[in-house]
Amino acid sequence: MITDKTISSLSEMLEKKEISSREICQAYLKRISDLNGRLNAYITVDPGMLMVEAGISDERRSSGKQLSRYDGIPIAVKDNISTKGVKTTCASRILSNFVPPYDAHSYEQMKSRGFLLLGKTNMDEFAMGSTTETSYFGPSKNPFNTDRVPGGSSGGSAVAVSSGMAPGALGSDTGGSIRQPAAFCGVVGIKPTYGRVSRYGLVAYASSLDQIGAFATTVGDAAVLLSTISGHDVRDTTSIDREVDFRPGDLSGDVSGVRIGVPEEYFEGVSEEIAAVIKNKISLLEKSGAVVEKISLKYTEYAIPVYYLIATAEASSNLARYDGVRYGLRPEGINNLSDLYLKSRSEGFGREVKRRIILGTFSLSSGYYDAYYMKALKGRTLIIRDFQDAFSKVDAIISPVTTTTAFKIGEMISDPLQMYMSDILTISTNLAGIPGISVPVGVDGKGMPIGLQIMGDHFREKTILSLAANVEKTCEKIKPEI
């Protein structure tokens, strides 16, 4: 089946003229029309536009002018990444009809290599959530069990790739929003070093933590997508000019002599089944020649308070732009400016977004700033130092991605604090700005996927991808029966 193929094999078939972009796109559109009603992975799909683009790609290829070997492969894009002329809603009512007038840098990069836009994927509203349940367009469903959440916030992208509705996808990760849904849905998800990918055109949630990354079914494909979107961009002043040294050909999977740290704090409160699978994979890496040692990341338990203070403070400031004036929702019948702000925002934002804006406004407000926000920034320094110490001893850190496998839809939605605490194993990497990857390594007794997380020092994507490629070789492919 075409929709079972990897990006790399689709590219090979296109290069050998065994298949056309039109045929590939038709197969995915068929899969989407069969499954999206049940899984709700996509918010927007435009089949007409896609088939036109596919035809143009086929013409480019037949005249030998393909933009890259991937020209004509369609990719899903999270709905907080701006796509010129295609609705970008952030899964929020306030942007539910917003059509951006420009492309995000990451999407421009994809287009410049001939990748096509398959559709825009569902997410938690403004990327605030861990399940996609806060989406204005309703939750996405986990393809392994539709009563369970796919994770979030990039849940739609994870579901699309897991269920064969896309060969790969872009997502964004502020506190685990790529790695956690990748783990819950049994696919590979990578969040790069902060600054590796330009945030230009990514709708901002928490600017010092947000990073765009990729989902794929294999480590090699994830490397293809991430290397495509990486690179310097003057329009994001935090974007960093670094060599991209992790294309699939650069990943040997050779781990001999690689020093792996295993932080004990990352196994506290983790289900026994998950801990056993991860420890087994670590021992296999040791057999392949890696050197494994126990390490301590002693501030791990403070990551959640530090993260939720910083992220919500930044969000409250970033989301001030939604005021009903220049774009987005403006309710009817308003006749003064302060009502315009109040009504547009109160009717446009959902509950989780309001909750986070209020929390962030509180910690930034006069009288509370030093005790909460400033204290959290100092705590962040301690967490960064924790990782600096660790990376002076080891090349990579391995842990589970989540403490449990995917939970039931509705299980945590009424208890935000419990939901926040479920992010414990993924948020520290965002606070430290380091890269992290989630690799599917098995399923639990209920058949739900388990993810293994590999974290590396700044700009060491190559190290974590190589380790991931090695781990991948020891795993059976996980596929949902859907």
Binding site: P101, T237, L337, F362, Y372, K378
Partner: protein, 98 residues
Amino acid sequence: MKLDEKLISRVANLARLELTDEEKQEFTKQLSDIIEYVEKINEMPTGDVIPADHIVDLKNVFREDRASASLDRSEIEKIAPKFEMGHIVVPRIIESIE
């Protein structure tokens, strides 16, 4: 600290959010729990620690001060909620004296 409904309403107003009574009740309870939980950061030894502004070593980024084209008005017209004669329209901002 426990937050009360009055404080939640005041902070919501700072953020230009109007809460329903139900939202006020719900948020007061939930945000109190969250604030009490995040106060855990007080256990961290942050005495003389420098706050983290940036993660990766960043320097000021400058560019040439050169004029260049920005979004065309026709593009802005497409996304503005109300647009007339080349301008975005908002409700009256100066109260009239009656």
